[in-house]
Amino acid sequence: MWRDTVLVAGKDLRIEARSRVALSQVVPFGIVALALFAFALGPDRAPMAKAAPGLFWVAVLFTTVLAVQRSVSVESGDGARDGLRLSGLDPAGQFLGKLLSVGAQLVALEVVLTAGVVLLYGARIEAWWMIVASCLLGTLGLAAAGVLYGALSAGLRVKETILPFLLLPVVTPVLLAGTRIWQAALAGGTPSYGSPWFHLLIAFDAVYLALGVVVYGPIQESA
């Protein structure tokens, strides 16, 4: 399974490195979203800094949809999805490989968006460890749920429009927990405040990781 995970992740990341879709479209989309939020809130930096945690995670959620759609579309050309099925790769390995690839892109995106939040919104981060931990845990959950729902929508004619409809409501716990942890991190980092939200992120990750490993294969076969 781990061999297949590395193989699929390597293939997807190599494709992204060649096509540069993440670099030229996904990351700029995230930055544009942050900038638009800033325009909507006006020139006063105080409300922007206050809203920064929520806006950061909303931007991450939207860009997650794009990254997952890209991951699905990579397999839709020239019968590549059938090729992947025929290869005999372990479905759990395929799921984890796709998760790694999408996750790596999201982490890179979050680094850029964090810088954007600091520069555009004037947010002052007091507890970096909380930011890093929430981003890593949130990314894991978003990537796991995204890959799973991406596979579910892959066989549908309306996959581009149905994916956000399926995915965004499901990842609301990540939005909530991530925002609360970021608020704590900006306010000085009170671990006791962030703790239950970390637990929520960990539980979300565990559920979607387990679900993905178990049902990705059947979903792929039936999609």
Binding site: L7, I15, S19, L86
Partner: protein
């Protein structure tokens, strides 16, 4: 656990029905292909040739009947079966952003095959020099076909399922393809070829079946020279509810009319979905 004894039948379908939604792709196919045999699948467009190969590859689940591939149930031993079966389909299964070499390497490693065979396969298919470093997006249809073939040669599966393999290839590549099929067969692989150009494959095949309306409606046996074996000509149909006759040895006399008895042929489009 997979059975340990080597199977004598590479592909066995008994009254197999496969559906796409509510439309039947296969409507009760009976077919036995022995290990090491080369079988030609003929039939008009939409008859079910591609569906037959996709069912054999485990890409389409069966709704009823019995299917065994290399002695295994492809539903139960999905990964094992798929690693031992190679399908050359209409699509090339290539990633446009990867180079020719990267595509072949990924497919071979994914199937758990030996990567040491890649160079030889590429040389054989004329995939050398700059072509190996060319992204698949820049390849012509014929070149994509050759890359897909190189994957198959490098993987060296036990069961080759070839869907219109000569399509898009020039005369030289067609000859090479026939050489590759013959070599694979000589090495013990079983080959099932669906083709609209039976004359290109007849010399390699020991047997030909005709699929019409999602059923096997006729069967011919070829002699060692590729000519239709005496005794089989003109009979052409076999009862679809009867077990398929065992493949004869290449130099054995053709089966007579006992094995090839007339049966009603279903209408070409009798409720059968058209499959590209």
């Amino acid at each position: 656990m997979a059975p340990a004894a080597p199977p004598t039948s590479a592909l066995s379908l008994r009254n197999v029905v496969a559906l796409s939604g509510r439309f039947p792709l296969l409507a009760g196919v009976d077919l036995e292909v022995a290990v090491g045999e080369t079988v030609l699948v003929e039939g008009p467009n939409g008859a079910g040739k591609t569906s037959l190969l996709r069912v054999a590859a485990g890409l389409v689940p069966i709704a009823s009947g019995h299917l065994s591939v290399l002695g295994l149930d492809p539903e139960r031993y999905r990964t094992t079966v798929r690693r031992r079966v190679g399908l050359l389909a209409h699509a090339s299964h290539l990633y446009d952003d990867l180079t020719v070499r990267e595509n072949i390497r990924f497919a071979v490693r994914a199937a758990g095959a030996d990567t040491a065979r890649i160079d030889g396969a590429c040389d054989r298919l004329g995939l050398v020099g700059r072509l190996l470093r060319t992204p698949a997006a820049k390849l012509s249809a014929g070149q994509r076909r050759r890359v897909a073939l190189a994957v198959l040669v490098a993987r060296a599966p036990e069961l080759w399922l070839l869907d219109e393999p000569h399509a898009g290839l020039d005369a030289g590549a067609r000859r090479l393809l026939n050489e590759l099929i013959a070599e694979a067969n000589a090495a013990g692989a079983t080959v099932v070829v669906a083709s609209h150009e039976p004359e290109l494959v007849a010399e390699l095949a020991s047997r030909s079946i005709t699929v019409t309306g999602g059923r096997v409606t006729a069967e011919r046996t070829f002699g060692p020279t590729g000519a239709e074996a005496p005794g089989a000509a003109g009979l052409g149909t076999v009862a679809t509810d009867a077990p398929a006759p065992d493949a004869p040895a290449p130099d054995a006399p053709a089966p007579d009319a006992v094995a090839l008895r007339a049966a009603p042929v279903p209408p070409p489009d009798g409720g059968i979905a058209h499959v590209a």
